[in-house]
């Protein structure tokens, strides 16, 4: 599903975010990306979502080489994944329904179908009945779940999440993690970047640890 081959990423400001990074994530797998802030977790997610392209090496997602994908193909490429952003990136001036419906609207889905699937997605994150509420009236945890609903509404085969539990207390964090586990159980490949190590250890799932843009060892961060 995802394959990094000796990937390097240097930003225009000269900062070297990733160096010689290789790893694979298999179809239907759920993995965690861990490491200190600045270790390169966000860069890895940006490279997978094609928000950035690699400076060196190859990133293959769903069979597409992201370094070579034509600009006009990018929107279609992005439709095969749902992304949960650290800062939510919700449209604050639109109700919850419009926010969640966006990935379906861009694919010209008929309205009745949109309605049905938005309700299904909100049901899955426990927000059914909040369709007409503005995101600002929701708690931080609820906003996070709206963002998750938007990521899964088009039933993408790949789900990416950047610090999805960052602003949540332990109970909410466990709930959100449980949601990702459930999506994974129905076949969705899930990649979660997080620094919430207890939660990762508890899950018993594979962990890809980054240290200064390279692969590190999980043990090195056991105390972090």
């Amino acid at each position: 599903m995802i394959s990094f081959e000796r990937v390097g990423k240097r930003y225009p400001n000269g900062r070297e975010a990733l160096t010689d990074l290789s790893f694979e994530v298999h179809d239907g797998e759920m993995v965690f990306l861990t490491g200190r802030s600045g270790a390169g977790k966000s860069s890895v997610l940006k490279l997978i979502a094609l928000i950035e392209r690699p400076t060196r090496g190859q990133v293959i997602v769903n069979g597409d080489n992201t370094g070579r994908l034509a600009l006009r193909r990018v929107p279609y490429f992005r439709r095969s994944m749902g992304v949960v952003f650290q800062d939510h990136r919700l449209l604050m001036d639109r109700p919850v329904f419009d926010n969640v419906a966006l990935p379906l609207i861009v694919t010209d889905t008929a309205f009745r179908e949109i309605e049905r699937r938005v309700r299904a997605a909100l049901d899955q994150v426990g927000l059914l009945g909040k369709e007409r509420v503005a995101p600002l009236e929701l708690s931080v945890g609820e906003q996070q779940r709206v963002c998750i609903a938007r990521a899964i509404v088009s039933k993408p085969p790949l789900l990416l999440a950047d610090e999805p539990t960052g602003n949540l207390d332990a109970t909410l964090a466990a709930e959100v993690m449980g949601l990702f586990r459930r999506f994974n159980e129905v076949g969705v490949t899930v990649v979660v970047a997080t620094h919430d190590l207890p939660l990762v250890r508890e899950s018993g799932l594979r962990e890809i640890t980054l240290d200064d843009g390279r692969l590190g060892t999980p043990a090195a961060h056991a105390d972090g």
């Binding site: 599903m1 179809d27 966000s42 940006k46 979502a49 928000i51 769903n62 006009r72 929107p75 279609y76 490429f77 992005r78 439709r79 095969s80 992304v83 952003f85 650290q86 800062d87 990136r89 919700l90 449209l91 966006l102 990935p103 609207i105 861009v106 694919t107 010209d108 889905t109 008929a110 309205f111 938007r150 088009s154 039933k155 993408p156 085969p157 790949l158 950047d162 076949g187 490949t189």
Partner: protein, 321 residues
């Protein structure tokens, strides 16, 4: 399995309803957006409407001048002087032949004796005329061209035709007046055209700038839309619709303004016409001009929006914090 999820089968009915959904959504959300920003929308549309109103007003003016001079064209005509030895009887016959020619509205004979009587009454030279042995005035035929047959070249052709009659001594053509008038009308039409082009460019600039600001204002929304897989075409669509709606509203406003101006000027114009003994009535903008204006508004609005969107949207690519 994943690929199968991503791919969906499309039937013709499904793609039709997708098309409807796509454009319906863009149109409704755009109209809603413009409505929510009522004041800004109203100001933009008002500026565009005024810009479109000016060329329309000029066009209506030119049309009315042309209508009004339908009356003046009676002052345009040919005077046919028969040779002195042609009897009145013969002249009347020729007058009726001339009157039936196409392009001739009327052919009126002023016989030598009528002319003499009129001259005697109006000139005050009655006594002097009595001293003359014969009537020195010839029979004269006054010809008015039909409307649409009064161009300089058509009048010239009519003149040559009448000159070819053996009974005719000379034909006088009020040609300078026709030429000057036609030149003035041509100049006015050119002014209308230039004004329309300049103000049309102004309308494009106003729409373009409005849409540019709108795009910058909705930058976050555009980024998120691109992040969830929205194509450039999808992102551009609502802005193009906004341009079209602006243009449509501006066209309607321009027509309304000129129509109101026409109605309020009509009594004064009729008063003036009456003073010249004319039954001319001012005609405001008509339904063809409305159609042209709405169509023009749509095209200009779309063009302005497209230029702004093409420049701005390509620059907005998703960034994450």
């Amino acid at each position: 399995m994943m690929a199968a999820l991503a791919r969906r089968r499309r039937t013709p009915m499904a793609s039709l309803s997708n098309w409807t959904a796509r454009h319906g959504h863009a149109l409704v959300s755009t109209a809603g957006h413009l409505g929510r920003h009522g004041l800004a929308t109203a100001l933009t549309v008002a500026v565009m409407g005024l810009a479109l109103a000016l060329p329309l007003a000029l066009n209506v003016l030119v049309r009315n001048v042309r209508d009004a001079t339908g009356d003046f064209s009676e002052a345009v005509g040919l005077s046919v002087y028969f040779k002195p030895d042609i009897p009145e009887q013969k002249a009347r016959q020729l007058a009726s032949i001339a009157g039936q020619r196409t392009g001739v509205a009327s052919a009126t004979l002023i016989s030598a004796s009528e002319a003499l009587a009129e001259f005697r009454a109006q000139s005050g030279f009655g006594a002097a005329l009595d001293a003359l042995p014969d009537n020195p005035l010839p029979n004269v035929l006054t010809i008015r061209p039909a409307p649409g047959a009064d161009s300089p070249s058509q009048l010239e052709a009519l003149r040559s035709y009448l000159l070819s009659w053996p009974e005719v001594d000379s034909v006088q053509l009020d040609r300078d007046w026709v030429l000057r008038f036609s030149a003035i009308m041509q100049l006015l039409r050119r002014v209308v055209l230039i004004t329309a082009v300049l103000l049309g460019a102004g309308v494009i600039a106003v729409v373009g700038n409005t849409i540019r600001l709108e795009i910058l204002h909705r930058r976050d929304e555009i980024e998120v839309t691109k992040l969830v897989g929205g194509t450039n075409a999808f992102v551009r669509r609502p802005f193009l619709y906004a341009g079209v709606l602006y243009g449509l509203a501006a066209g309607a406003i321009a027509w309304g303004l000129v129509a109101i101006a026409g109605v309020s000027l009509a009594p004064a114009a009729e008063h003036l016409a009456a003073a010249y003994g004319s039954s001319f009535t001012l005609r405001g903008p008509d339904v063809y001009e409305l159609g042209a204006l709405l169509l023009g508004g749509i095209v200009l609005g779309w063009l302005g929006a497209w230029i702004a969107a093409a420049r701005q949207l390509a620059r907005i690519e998703p960034r994450t914090a």
